[in-house]
């Protein structure tokens, strides 16, 4: 598989001779659709439904960007990527943006030459353990066998956590979430660790979710967000401000239900600027004046996407927590639209 990636990278590097720095927006427009990298399937975040339509929280962001550019949330080609292939796919130009539970870290932002454009989910690494094991805290896991997805930051956090607490463990590397679930349920590993949101999503799919607990320790910061290639700031701006538009829309009370009505003009100048009734924000990033309206219309604002895909009323059942608006004590804080 790696060889294929490598050859693919060579081919792409050969074909796009020098064009890598050219405007991504022009490429996307010429192609007529957005190539968006997503996971190979994490329920709630990005997974194809029975009809093959991609759905989920990250998918919602891809559709919003596509709607901002084309006015059509379906003008997206979803490219499933694994933890291993995602960066190569983005660096080689196979995808225009990556929205795939990817943790924003220093080295990925600088050394790997990507631009993270914000955070769409504040996560942290947790542990899932069977209740029968009688473990109440991650500090009691000395000597445990731990299933862990390879090629993720969680692998490094885990090593750090156990080293800092002078404990030993045995890592059981697994490739996909499904494999981890199977190994964990068969008892081949004592504990399963990944981002707490992923654990909740995984546990929701168990036969008896109540037999398993997520340990209280969150051992890392995992700000998950969309990213693009370094060097094309115009394209980066579009994705960044589409995400901000979804967050600001929630703060301003703009939803998919009332966006049509509000776009005609309201008494709130910020809503007017956001939805294109006032000012020329769309033109500044080379898009239609109704770009943000289109983005909100396709799946709703940030809060709507959250509730529909991973919120408390879904099988995933995640509380807003850190991912609430700053006005509600969360961390979401969009810069002003001005």
């Amino acid at each position: 598989m790696n060889k294929k990636v490598f050859l693919g990278a060579l081919t792409v590097a050969g074909l796009t001779a020098g064009a890598a720095a050219a405007a991504t927006l022009d490429d996307v427009k010429a192609r007529g659709k957005l190539n968006c990298g997503v996971t190979t399937g994490v329920p709630g975040f990005a997974a194809p439904d029975a009809n093959g339509n991609w759905d989920g929280f990250d998918v919602g962001l891809c559709r919003a960007v596509a709607a901002a550019v084309f006015g059509d949330g379906n003008a997206v080609e979803f490219v499933p990527t694994t933890g291993k292939t995602r960066f190569t796919a983005l660096a080689s130009g196979e995808i225009d943006m990556l929205a795939r539970n990817t943790t924003w870290t220093f080295s990925r932002d600088t050394d790997l030459k990507f631009d993270f454009l914000g955070v769409n989910y504040y996560d942290g690494q947790g542990f899932l353990a069977p209740k029968a094991l009688g473990v109440a805290s991650a500090k009691e896991l000395d000597g445990a066998r731990i299933c862990i997805q390879t090629g993720t930051t969680t692998e490094l956090n885990l090593a750090d956590f156990f080293r800092a607490n002078s404990m030993s463990y045995e890592p059981v590397p697994i490739e996909t979430n499904a494999e981890g679930q199977q190994q964990y349920l068969a008892g081949a590993c004592d504990v399963y660790t990944t981002d707490a949101s992923g654990l909740a999503a995984t546990r929701a799919a168990f036969e008896n979710p109540s037999d398993h607990i997520i340990l209280p320790e969150i051992i890392s910061k995992e700000p998950l967000g969309p990213l693009v290639r370094h060097g094309d700031n115009d394209w980066g701006d579009i994705v960044r401000w589409t995400l901000n538009a979804l967050i600001a829309a929630e703060e301003l009370g703009v939803t998919s239900a009332n966006v049509e009505e509000l776009s005609a003009g309201t008494g709130n100048p910020e809503i007017n600027r956001l939805l294109g009734a006032e000012g020329t924000l769309g033109a500044m990033i080379g898009l239609d004046p109704a770009w943000a309206k289109n983005a909100i219309m396709v799946g709703g604002n940030y809060g709507e996407l959250f509730e529909k895909n991973i919120g408390e009323n879904t099988p995933i059942g995640l509380a807003r927590g850190l991912n609430g608006q700053w006005t509600d004590g969360g961390l979401l804080y969009s810069p002003p639209f001005r």
Binding site: A9, S107, G143, R145, A188
Partner: protein, 404 residues
């Protein structure tokens, strides 16, 4: 009267490069070589230019950085603070370990099945045919996953060994077969163990000396000494004797159930077992066919001639047929060994941390150095494969038909 003159010495002219058959082929080959080098040079510089344009510079500095991740099966000292290079070495050793185990097992299995495929017993013959056809016609990846899944699903978890109502037990209190692997006692070497090892080595040399003596005796006097049982005795007796004389310098460390796991002893993890057996039975089926072909390539007259000399079937096989068959068997066997080594890269399917899993997996991913890591991987597999070929070719030369 003209004196015999030397044939006219034509001085070299440039057009001879094209018109003279002595030079023409060199000219064309040189031109082709230059074109080839130029083509590769162009592709290489094009690649480098585009990589630079895409912001991907080739650098191997990351190999010295701390890896930051842990590996479950380590044959050398390694922790998460060791370098990426060290992690690659751990991976290389794991690859070599599983390749070696699988090569040995596949050879034994293959020779066994190959010989039995020619058995006169209908049932045995057909059973071996079923083995060969079933195993070589299903992709090895499927076999790896099947064995691994069966191991994790059927064998008990360590928690089943716990408590009064334990549903699983340890044979001899020494072995535990769990879905995480097999735990068994490990030898602990005390003082005097080195001496014991020396005795063992001396016994092995003794066995070879004895066999040479037996052969010499056979050639000189025609007397046939039994070799099997004396060899077994030479191997075991002195070592066991010295073991007690020295006061048991080697003790055993038994695995014990702790809170989560068995600790102590030797742990053969289930990914290694799954990969090892899958590669061995899969490739063993191919080797069986090679062996059968090799045996059938020896003309039937050889068997009949040997039989007419009064040799028993076993001896005919060992002394007459197999040595000749080996000449046919070895060359395809080399490529089977190479296949095992290369197929061991499927380890990632069961989470076995071979070189593809460490350097080509986690390191590649954590550092994002895909091209560097994959180039290094290719270099590694290439050098291992070429080394195996070289060794096997030396062996092949040694058993070649020697014409006197």
């Amino acid at each position: 009267m003209s004196p015999l003159s030397e044939p006219p010495r034509e001085s070299f002219r440039l057009n001879m490069l094209l018109n003279d058959t002595r030079f023409r082929s060199y000219t064309f080959q040189l031109v082709a070589l230059i074109l080839l080098v130029a083509a590769f040079g162009y592709l290489g510089s094009n690649l480098m230019a585009n990589l630079r344009a895409a912001g991907l510079n080739i650098s191997y500095n990351f190999l010295g950085d701390p890896a930051g991740y842990d590996i479950n099966q380590r044959l050398v000292e390694y922790d998460s603070q060791s370098s990426h290079w060290r992690a690659a070495v751990v991976g290389i050793l794991n690859t070599l370990l599983v390749a070696f185990l699988a090569c040995v097992t596949a050879t034994l299995l293959g020779v066994f099945a190959g010989v039995l495929r020619l058995s006169k017993n209908w049932l045995v013959r057909k059973l071996m045919a079923v083995y060969v056809e079933a195993f070589r016609n299903v992709p090895v990846l499927i076999w790896i996953i099947i064995i691994f899944t069966i191991m994790t699903a059927v064998l008990p978890a360590p928690s089943a060994f716990r408590g009064d109502a334990a549903t699983a037990s340890m044979p001899f209190n020494a072995f535990a077969f769990t879905n995480r692997g097999i735990y068994m006692p490990a030898p602990v070497f005390g003082p005097g163990a080195a001496f014991l090892a020396a005795i063992l080595a001396a016994s092995v040399i003794g066995i070879f000396a004895f066999k040479r003596y037996a052969t010499k005796l056979l050639f000189d006097t025609g007397r046939l000494l039994p070799t099997f049982w004396p060899s077994v005795a030479i191997f075991f007796l002195p070592t066991i004797l010295m073991f007690f004389v020295l006061g048991r310098p080697v003790s055993l460390d038994f695995p014990e159930l702790t809170r989560f796991n068995f600790q102590g002893g030797i742990n053969i993890q289930s990914p290694l077992i799954a990969l090892w057996f899958a590669l061995a039975i899969y490739t063993g089926a191919f080797i069986a066919e090679n062996v059968r072909a090799g045996i059938q390539a020896v003309s039937k007259g050889q068997t009949e001639a040997a039989a007419s000399l009064g040799l028993r079937p076993n001896r005919i096989m060992n002394l007459v047929i197999l040595p000749q068959a080996l000449r046919v068997i070895i060359p395809p066997l080399i490529s089977q060994y190479l296949n095992i080594t290369k197929n061991s890269s499927l380890a990632i399917a069961v989470g076995y941390m071979d070189i593809t899993g460490t350097l080509g997996g986690i390191t590649l991913n954590q550092t994002g150095r895909a091209i560097e890591a994959v180039l290094l991987l290719m270099l590694f597999y290439l050098s291992i494969s070429l080394s195996i070929s070289a060794l096997m070719n030396i062996y092949n030369k040694s058993i070649k038909l020697k014409e006197r």
